[in-house]
Symmetry: C2
Subunit: 358 residues, 2 copies
Amino acid sequence: MIKRIGTHTIEFTNRPRIVGFGSVVGKKEGEGPLNDWFDKIHTDTSLGKETWEKAEAMLQQEAVTLSLEKSGLDKSNIDYIFAGDLLNQCVSSSYGLRSMEIPFLGQYGACSTMAQTISMAAVFAESGAADFCAAVTSSHFCSAERQFRYPLQYGGQRTPTAQWTVTGSGSVIVGAIENGNFKFGEDMLNTNGDITLKKQIGIEHICTGKIIDMGITDANNMGAAMAGAAADTISCYFKDTGTYYDDYDLIVTGDLGKVGSELLYELLGKDKIFIEKNHKDCGLMIFDLKKQDVHAGGSGCGCSGSVLCSYLIKNMMKRKYNDILFIATGALMSPTIVQQGESIPGIAHLVHLKNCTE
Amino acid sequence: MIKRIGTHTIEFTNRPRIVGFGSVVGKKEGEGPLNDWFDKIHTDTSLGKETWEKAEAMLQQEAVTLSLEKSGLDKSNIDYIFAGDLLNQCVSSSYGLRSMEIPFLGQYGACSTMAQTISMAAVFAESGAADFCAAVTSSHFCSAERQFRYPLQYGGQRTPTAQWTVTGSGSVIVGAIENGNFKFGEDMLNTNGDITLKKQIGIEHICTGKIIDMGITDANNMGAAMAGAAADTISCYFKDTGTYYDDYDLIVTGDLGKVGSELLYELLGKDKIFIEKNHKDCGLMIFDLKKQDVHAGGSGCGCSGSVLCSYLIKNMMKRKYNDILFIATGALMSPTIVQQGESIPGIAHLVHLKNCTE
């Protein structure tokens, strides 16, 4: 059942479960601290394709395929696929997934897309609209740089606040639950792997963000543009649920990076919320900032997507973490309108993942 | 309750209602055959803004404001806003709606966005996730031409299959129903207009489309790129529900135009489905093809959006039509990837609107 709590939070009393997940990343991400956790690392970030856009589309296709394999499901078992990315007209999603033959609902939340697609999948699963949904996103350093900033060949200088767009994709399969059991398809799930694990990670809450504009006009300072949105969503969720930072093992933001994370602490501090102790940012987890020359950290839809679908979910399965708030953050940035002098609005969507012990 | 029918159709047993709607268009649309039906016509299509993108953002803001006014609701009563458009990074939505302070879920379905946003709003309303949702989209001839084809100043020659992107926006407010009554806020609704009318138009079914690629590579032949998707969704819906074209007063496609509509008849004919008698296309309704020099007809998210939120909904209120299948069609077209030699995939989402007689 879908239960509304406070102003903007939804509780899923049946807790739809994550029954499959997959992560695919590029070379630089594979050389970072999360190296051992990814399902697949491409040392050739072109993936053998003739363009970066087609390479990124392939990342999504591979991530979905991996998540399906782990779930034991076939693409024909998936009722809806929620997908989005950073490219104009979301082409990694539409071209990467066009051969899937699954009803397709394109999402656009910039780098908040991983949380947004999971939110939609959870609402569809819990409401009876679907038995199984896929939620997927991606980004690629080379396609993003040339679209949002400079073509790589230009060799533009990067500012200290700049972040490095992650080449990667994450996909999860969400399954509907009724009375503690999958509504449909448990037999199919059983054919591949441990059913208990597949019943383990539940989606307990979502909190959908509003558009928050901090007045940032610097396309090289995405962290600052998103920090206000993250603070707003986190603060709203704590109010709605009456919980506090230490009720969770981990509070993970998407890609605030160094600059954005510091700003987040400052903003939440004004509301007397202090998350530093339990906070990690996917943009700071995926790269070694000292060694990998990524300036303020990683970014992109694929940043939070690939970290969630590797390190975070795998450590929930190991029960190192049992209770995670995953807040993917997006800068609704468009080069066209930034060149017209407009500031960059941010958005952040929250998903509460919890290990189900029963 | 959400009930699944056949393979891809959802039935809403409570039929969430359209409690408000608004349409705003530009000069050329205001000179067309639907002239009398629009809420607002801008004779200055720049809307007094310094750029086309900002003008388009304003169209969305105005359409949402009009739909809120007609519903008698305040923006604070809206739980979620589902919005999308054709511009890179969906900027008309994010910039047009950033001042609304409503939890925002950006959608990308190209010109199918009006049906997609209504589908999402209906699922959220029927599932208990929301009392009221807004669903909105827009397009603008000038912003679309320069982004997808040529800058206007270039004066590019238009081919006979080319369509004219509509300058316009449509917005609807969807309200949740339980036991025939609004779940919340009937008092608010009552303060403005006739509550019976507001209980009139229900969303009975949705059918979400798959990505269908017909192999079209001509960016000036969107109708053909979308016809296959429309045929697939319509045919799937008829199979799922066991209904046929003459069970409906009208079967309205979004923006197939002349070329796409003829192709749709041909494709459906192969499945022995003949919709010609009851079929209209928003792209052929909004312009006078003989007088207005729009070649194969109108197109764009704002085409089906503004026609639905004016002529169609108003004629349902007059009970000229009681039962409409609204199939918004989208070409998932990106100049970048078309220049890389890829074909243009299409998508079509269906919404079944029905007058509630009780």
